[in-house]
C-alpha cells in the first residue's frame, strides 16, 4: 500500500508542466536497508489504523453483503437475490425509498437555501451575532434531544395544536405525525431547523473569505445588490456550497435518530427511511437477511451519490 502511494505521481504533474526531475541515484546497500526500514516503520505506524478500519468497517461490511444472500429462516439457506427482491414486493420498503428521496431533497435544499440566506443576512450588522447564535445553537444539540422537543410540539395534543386552537385556527390543527406525507414533511422541517446551523457557519466562512475588492469593483461598475450577489458572491461560494450539499446529501440518506425518536418509523411503517427500515427489519421483524440487503442498497446509494456528486463538482472546479 505504501509503495503504491509513494510511487503515485503528484496531481499537479498531470495538469501542468512537470518540473525538472532528478534521476534517482543508485543507493548503496546501507541506504537500501534504511529505505526498507523507513517503509517498515511507516507500515508499522499505519498498521493500527488499517487494522481498525478492516476490523470494524470492512469486515462487517463484507459480512453484511454475504448475509444478504441468505434467507431469514432458521436454517438460513442461500437464497440468491430474494432479500433484494423485497424492494419490489414489500410496500413498506417502497414507501421507505419514497421517504428517503423526500429526505434527501429536503435535507439538501432547505439547509442550503436557509443557510445561505441567513449567512448573507447576518454577515454584517450589529445584531447579526445574536441572530447567528440563535440559528447555530440547535446544531449543538443532539438529534435525540431535538426529537424529544419536537415530539412535545407535534403530537396531537402538543404545543403546536394548542397554539393553533388558542388563536382560533382549530381547522388547521391536526395529528402532524400521523398521516403521510405530512409526517415526513414536518420531520424534514424539524431536521432543517437543526441542520441549518452548520450550513450557516460554513457559508459565513465562505463569505468572509471573499475579497472585498471584487465587490467594490462590481459596485463601481454599477452592479446592484442582487447582481453583486448573483455574479460575484455566489460563484465565490462554490467550494463551500459543494461541502454543504455533499454533507447534506449524506445526512439525508442516513437520517435515523429524529425519525426513530419521533415516530419509530410508524404509524404503520409510513415514515421509515432506508436506515430505519434496515433497523426495523433486522431487530424488530427479526429478519437479518432482509436488513442486510437494505444496508447494502443504502450503502451503495450513499457511495454512488457522494461519488457522482463530488466527482462532478471537483472536476468542474479543477477544470
Amino acid at each position: 500500500m505504501s509503495t503504491s502511494t509513494t510511487d503515485r505521481r503528484p496531481p499537479t504533474a498531470a495538469g501542468g508542466p512537470a518540473g525538472p526531475r532528478r534521476p534517482a541515484p543508485r543507493l548503496p546497500l546501507g541506504h537500501a536497508w534504511q529505505t526498507t526500514r523507513e517503509r517498515l516503520a511507516a507500515g508499522g505506524f499505519m498498521a493500527p489504523a488499517v487494522l481498525l478500519v478492516t476490523l470494524f468497517l470492512l469486515a462487517p461490511f463484507v459480512w453484511t453483503v454475504y448475509r444478504s444472500f441468505f434467507s431469514d429462516t432458521r436454517t438460513a439457506p442461500f437464497s440468491w437475490f430474494d432479500n433484494y427482491a423485497l424492494f419490489a414486493s414489500d410496500p413498506a420498503l417502497a414507501r421507505s425509498i419514497q421517504n428517503t428521496l423526500m429526505w434527501v431533497v429536503g435535507t439538501v435544499a432547505l439547509p442550503f437555501v436557509l443557510g445561505l440566506a441567513i449567512a448573507v443576512m447576518t454577515n454584517a450588522g450589529r445584531l447579526s451575532r445574536l441572530a447567528r447564535l440563535c440559528v447555530v445553537l440547535p446544531y449543538a444539540l443532539s438529534g435525540s434531544a431535538v426529537a424529544v422537543v419536537w415530539n412535545f410540539m407535534l403530537t396531537t395534543d402538543g404545543a403546536v395544536n394548542q397554539v393553533l386552537t388558542t388563536v382560533g385556527l382549530d381547522s388547521v390543527a391536526q395529528g402532524w405525525l400521523l398521516t403521510w406525507p405530512g409526517n415526513t414533511v414536518v420531520m424534514i422541517l424539524a431536521n432543517a431547523w437543526q441542520a441549518t446551523g452548520v450550513a450557516v457557519i460554513l457559508f459565513l466562512v465562505g463569505l468572509q473569505s471573499i475579497p472585498p475588492e471584487t465587490l467594490e469593483a462590481g459596485s463601481l461598475d454599477g452592479a446592484n445588490g442582487w447582481q453583486q450577489f448573483r455574479h460575484i458572491v455566489l460563484p465565490q461560494l462554490r467550494p463551500v456550497s459543494i461541502i454543504v450539499i455533499g454533507m447534506s446529501l449524506v445526512n439525508g440518506l442516513k437520517s435515523f435518530d429524529l425519525i426513530w425518536v419521533l415516530t419509530q418509523g410508524g404509524p404503520g411503517r409510513a415514515t421509515e427511511t432506508l436506515a430505519v427500515s434496515m433497523y426495523n427489519e433486522t431487530f424488530l421483524e427479526l429478519r437479518p437477511g432482509a436488513g442486510a440487503a437494505i444496508a447494502v442498497v443504502l450503502t451503495v446509494i450513499v457511495l454512488a451519490a457522494s461519488w457522482v456528486y463530488l466527482r462532478r463538482q471537483l472536476d468542474v472546479k479543477g477544470g
Binding site: T73, R74, T155, D157, L178, G268, A270
Partner: protein, 437 residues
C-alpha cells in the same frame, strides 16, 4: 519555550517517546478493560443480577430479593434497560456471550419459544413441576412457559387486561361500572357529551396497537381469538371483521384518544378527567398509585363486557417469565432464586409492590381493585387467553402490530388492514412451521 533551538530539538524525541508510551499504556488499559467482564454482570457474592426492561420495578426486585435472601442467601440485583426494543436486542446478543445476567425477564409464549429455540437457556422443567406440586403455579401456565415439552421460564407475574376508570368522574356523571355492552356504549356516550374522551388508545411504541384488537376480538368470540392466534382461523373471518368495525366506529365517533397519545400519560389523564377509561394491564395499578390515585377511591377497573350477552366470558392474560441463561455468571445462585421465586413470602412482597396479581394463585393481591378482578375471573370462570403479543410467532405479531398502528392512524380501512394481516399470517406461520420441522 525553550531558550534555544538546540534544547528544543533535543527535547522532542523524549517528549515523543513519552507521548507514545502514554498512548501505548492507555491502549493497554482500554484493551484490558474491554476484555474484562463488565462489572455490572460479573458475579457478586450474595446477589443474582437480573435483566429488566422496566426500571420502575427495580425497587420491587430489591424488596423481593431481601425475602429471597432469607431462603436462598441471594438478593436480586436489577439491571434495567427501559427501552423494550433495545432490551430485546441486548438480551438476545448477550445470551450468546459469557456476559449474560443471572436472570432475565422475558415475555412468555412464542417470544419465549423463539428464545429457547435459539439455545442458551437452562431447562427449568424440574423447578416448574416442583411449584405445580405445591399448587404455587397454575397448571395452565405450562403452555406459556414451555417449548418442546421442557419449561424454560418461571412465571414472574400475571396481569389481566382491564379498563381502568376514574371513580370521581363516573360518580359525577352518574355512571356505574358497565356490566353489558350496551352499558359500556352508554358510558362512552355520556363521557363524550361531557367533553371527556371515553377510551385511551395508543400506538406509541408499537405494541400498544394490539390492545384494542385483542380485546374486541376476544370479547366478540373468545374461541375465534384462540383459533386466530393459533393460526387456525383467518383474520378476514367474520368475528375479526366485526371487531375491527366496532373499533373503527369508536374512532369515528371520537371515542378514542389520538393514536399518538403516550400511554405513560394515561394515569395522569385519568386523574385529570380528560380520559374516561384506560385499557391496560393490571400492572398499571402501580402507575396509578404513582400518579397519586388510591385504589377503590380514585380509580376502579373492570373487564370489558362481551359484545353479546351469550358470548363466553374471557380475560386477556399477560405473563412475564424469568429465564436462566445457561452461561449465567452465578448459575447456581440463579437456580436457587428461581426455585424460591414463587414462595408465598416472596410473592407477598412482590405482589404488594406491583399492586398486581401474583403468578402464585395462593397469593391474593393486596390492591383491592386487582383483588376484585381476581375474584371476578374466578367467579365467572373466565377463560384466560394469552395476550396477542405472546400468542403467535414474534415476526407475525410485530408486523401485524405495525398494520394495526397504521389502521389507528387512518392509513388503511378495517378490511384492508385485516387482509394484510392475513397475508402476513400465512407467510409467517409457514415460516415458523418450516423452522420447527
Amino acid at each position: 519555550m525553550s531558550a534555544s533551538g538546540r534544547t528544543s530539538s533535543a527535547a522532542v524525541p523524549l517528549a515523543r517517546r513519552r507521548f507514545l508510551a502514554g498512548v501505548a499504556a492507555g491502549a493497554a488499559v482500554l484493551t484490558a478493560g474491554g476484555c474484562a467482564r463488565g462489572a455490572s454482570t460479573s458475579a457478586q457474592p450474595g446477589t443474582t443480577s437480573i435483566s429488566n426492561d422496566n426500571a420502575t420495578w427495580d425497587d420491587g426486585y430489591r424488596s423481593a430479593g431481601r425475602e429471597l435472601k432469607k431462603i436462598t442467601g441471594y438478593e436480586l440485583r436489577p439491571l434495567s434497560n427501559p427501552s423494550v426494543t433495545s432490551y430485546q436486542q441486548v438480551v438476545q446478543m448477550t445470551l450468546q456471550t459469557s456476559k449474560s445476567t443471572d436472570l432475565v425477564k422475558w415475555a412468555s409464549g412464542y417470544q419465549l419459544k423463539r428464545l429457547a429455540r435459539a439455545g442458551g437457556l437452562t431447562d427449568l422443567t424440574r423447578v416448574f413441576k416442583g411449584y405445580a406440586a405445591k399448587g404455587w403455579v397454575r397448571g395452565s401456565s405450562w403452555d406459556a412457559v414451555s417449548y418442546r415439552d421442557k419449561a424454560y421460564g418461571i412465571p414472574l407475574y400475571e396481569s389481566y387486561y382491564v379498563l381502568f376508570y376514574s371513580k370521581p368522574v363516573f360518580r359525577r356523571l352518574g355512571l356505574s361500572v358497565p356490566d353489558s355492552w350496551d352499558a359500556l356504549l352508554h358510558c362512552a356516550e355520556v363521557l363524550k357529551r361531557n367533553g371527556i374522551t371515553p377510551f385511551l388508545a395508543s400506538q406509541v411504541g408499537g405494541w400498544p396497537a394490539i390492545e384494542w384488537f385483542q380485546e374486541l376480538v376476544s370479547k366478540s368470540d373468545p374461541g375465534f381469538y384462540q383459533r386466530l392466534v393459533d393460526g387456525e382461523a383467518s383474520y378476514t373471518d367474520a368475528p375479526a371483521r366485526r371487531a375491527m368495525d366496532i373499533w373503527h366506529d369508536f374512532m369515528r365517533k371520537g371515542w378514542m384518544t389520538s393514536p399518538d397519545f403516550d400511554q405513560a400519560r394515561g394515569p395522569g389523564a385519568l386523574k385529570e378527567g380528560t380520559v374516561g377509561m384506560f385499557l391496560h394491564g393490571t400492572w398499571q395499578a402501580s402507575g396509578m398509585s404513582a400518579a397519586g390515585m388510591k385504589p377503590g377511591t380514585d380509580y376502579g377497573a373492570f373487564i370489558l363486557p362481551t359484545v353479546r350477552p351469550a358470548t363466553a366470558k374471557s380475560v386477556i392474560a399477560e405473563s412475564g417469565v424469568f429465564v436462566v441463561p445457561g452461561r449465567a455468571s452465578s448459575h447456581e445462585a440463579a437456580m436457587a432464586n428461581v426455585g424460591a421465586w414463587l414462595d408465598p413470602s416472596v410473592q407477598r412482597v412482590w405482589s404488594d409492590f406491583l399492586e398486581d396479581s401474583s403468578a402464585n394463585p395462593k397469593v391474593q393481591a393486596g390492591n383491592p381493585v386487582v383483588a376484585g378482578l381476581q375474584r371476578d375471573v374466578a367467579r365467572n370462570r373466565r377463560q384466560a387467553l394469552v395476550r396477542y403479543w405472546e400468542a403467535s410467532p414474534p415476526s407475525l405479531v410485530q408486523g401485524n402490530s405495525n398494520d394495526l398502528g397504521g389502521f389507528m392512524a387512518g392509513q388503511t380501512s378495517p378490511a384492508a388492514t385485516l387482509k394484510r394481516m392475513q397475508e402476513r399470517a400465512q407467510d409467517e406461520w409457514a415460516a415458523w412451521k418450516r423452522d420447527e420441522a
